[in-house]
Amino acid sequence: MEILRIEGLSKIFGSGRLEVRALEEINLSVSAGDLVALLGPSGSGKTTMLLCTSLILEPTQGKIVFDGQTIFQKNGWSGGVDIRRLRREKMGFIFQAHSLIPFLTARQNVQFPLSLVGINGDVAQRRVMELLEYMEIADRADYLPALLSGGEQQRVAIARALANNPRLILADEPTASLDTVRGKKVMELLKKIAKENQSAVIVVTHDVRMIEGFDRVFHLKDGRLNNTH
């Protein structure tokens, strides 16, 4: 089942002599359970691609269809679509380091997206503990992020991204602040999530060592996307 379809997507910053073509004619289709890697050096357009896919940055042209609903067309964002609601109900985000809210414990960080969709009380608590146990970090539930290691923080961040059973998980350099061993563990978790939860997972990274076992790998270079396998 197709989760995300991007057709002819371009993003141009500035105009005239200052014009920068960050993304050009990007085509991408991701289905449920797909594990997709986006590789590319700095300045290749990875972050711009992620911002457009997260529905934060408005593309200049192209089309984005998410979960069967056209979100963006030539003329701009489709009317009547609550983008923030889409993000909180159907997307999960995992970032580099320091993405947890520092004044909330691990448990509260995972609970936060649930509270945004109106899930509170015992139901929320059960779901939070289920996710923390799945991430093997339940024993640290009541710790503040500052008291967790980088790997533990990233596992809490993944638990938070999974809280609302998202259709699409977007991960931005999730292993950037981790050593190789911990980085590989995080990637293994993402593979497991893609297969078990049937969520589409797009991982943006510059580290080729981390993409072993991915279904598809794309290379971004000068705003253009090349499918390598």
């Binding site: 580099q96 809210i101 509260q108 945004l116």
Partner: protein, 399 residues
């Protein structure tokens, strides 16, 4: 999920320090409120305590408290003869600085007719009122004199026979009640050396008059001494059912004095002597409130800026604006309300330590709380604006 409380829990130390700082500012605001009320209360206390039907003063003068007014004592007989007047009592009031024990004290003396009682203390807290025509005094406990203690004032020594808390003078200093002749003596009576000098000066002046024999000059001398039977006002009590306006008009037209009701006397003070200080205190209150709001704004702005990445993460996750607005505004209100509570407790525990009277009125506290609450909401606007401007892209390292 109460994000504001969780954040403040993490920064507990800084929150408490800010509450103390802002709370102290609010304490000054509340103290200023009390000082404002106290200033008016003290300024009007003696007028309200005496409260005659009419104050008769020197023509075109706003006396006896707002402006000096002098008149011969015997005029009270003329006032007494006005239709509708039941009592007309001479009254004198002046401020002195004298040594009481080992200290120099600033206080005011009230001289009144102890027979009519008008102008004298109505409620005695300890001891009794004045009963003898001379050498007794009643005073406010602030004077620091004990019952039965003897106090030298001018040429004589006075025994404290009673204490009254009824009123203080217009500056908040204690009042001392004396019989009218005693009060006149303390004010006007010179010491013996000065009397001799004055007599000698007069004798020399008369000796230069060729028309006067030395014997006639000596006879004339006592009548040329300065008159000490001077008063500041006549207090009038009207007969039941008498027309106040008519009595006042009669006194003004036929005796050439000015008359005021107690309410008019109060207005004279409010628009005269008390006006400057009252405006000054009002200005201080407004300035302090503005300073408090600015400080809370800066604190909340700093709190918000420190959380800006977390706010970006929340927005990226899909948190609606109301969650972000609530986070910032709730912190601002928590800070404001806690600081106000701290200020309220502090001022209620310490108001009696201030040298001037701090009169705490619940209405003032409620109004200040509403203003403070509004200030807290206003203070959060800067932080909210910054939070709402934050792009979720910041969480991903974008703009």
């Amino acid at each position: 999920m109460d994000l504001a409380v969780y954040d403040l829990k993490l920064h507990r130390g800084r929150f408490i320090a800010t509450v103390i700082g802002v709370g102290l500012l609010f304490t000054i605001v509340l103290a200023m409120n009390g000082l404002y009320r106290g200033n008016i209360y003290e300024g009007l206390a003696v007028i309200n305590a005496i409260n005659p039907d009419l104050w008769v003063v020197e023509r075109f003068r706003g006396g006896p408290f707002n402006e000096q007014s002098t008149m011969p004592e015997y005029y009270h007989y003329s006032v007494k003869a006005v239709p509708g007047v039941e009592q007309a009592s001479p009254f004198i009031y002046y401020t002195v600085e004298r040594r009481i024990g080992q200290e120099s004290r600033h206080f005011s003396i009230v001289g009144y007719d102890i027979v009519s009682g008008l102008g004298g203390p109505q409620q005695i807290q300890a001891g009794r009122g004045l009963q003898q025509a001379h050498y007794e005094m009643v005073a406010h406990p602030k004077l620091g004199v004990r019952l039965g203690e003897k106090v030298p004032l001018g040429l004589h020594t006075y025994t404290l026979v009673g204490l009254t808390k009824e009123a203080v003078d217009t500056n908040g200093d204690p009042l001392v009640y004396l019989s009218l002749p005693d009060a006149q003596e303390v004010l006007y009576q010179k010491d013996n050396e000065e009397i001799r000098n004055q007599r000698t000066r007069l004798s020399r002046s008369l000796a230069l008059q060729n028309s006067l024999s030395p014997l006639a000059a000596d006879k004339l001398l006592p009548s040329l001494q300065p008159d000490t039977h001077i008063i500041n006002a006549i207090l009038v009590r009207l007969k039941p059912g008498a027309n106040r306006a008519e009595a006042a008009r009669h006194i003004e037209d036929w005796l050439y004095f000015s008359t005021y009701t107690t309410q008019q006397e109060t207005q004279l003070m409010l628009k005269g002597r008390l006006a400057g200080m009252t405006k000054q205190l009002m200005l201080f209150r407004i300035l302090l409130m503005i300073i408090s709001v600015v400080i809370i704004s800066l604190v909340i702005y700093t709190f918000t800026m420190e959380k800006i990445r977390s706010i970006a993460v929340m927005k990226l996750i899909g948190a609606p604006n109301r969650v972000i607005v609530r986070l910032v505004m709730e912190q601002s209100l928590l800070l404001t309300i806690t600081a106000f509570g701290f200020a309220l407790v502090l001022i209620n525990q310490t108001y009696h330590l201030f040298p001037k009277t701090i009169l705490l009125v619940p209405e003032d506290e409620i109004i200040t709380f509403i203003v403070v609450l509004f200030g807290g909401i206003l203070a959060s606007i800067l932080g909210i604006a910054q939070a709402l401007r934050t792009q979720p892209a910041m969480a991903l390292g974008g703009q």
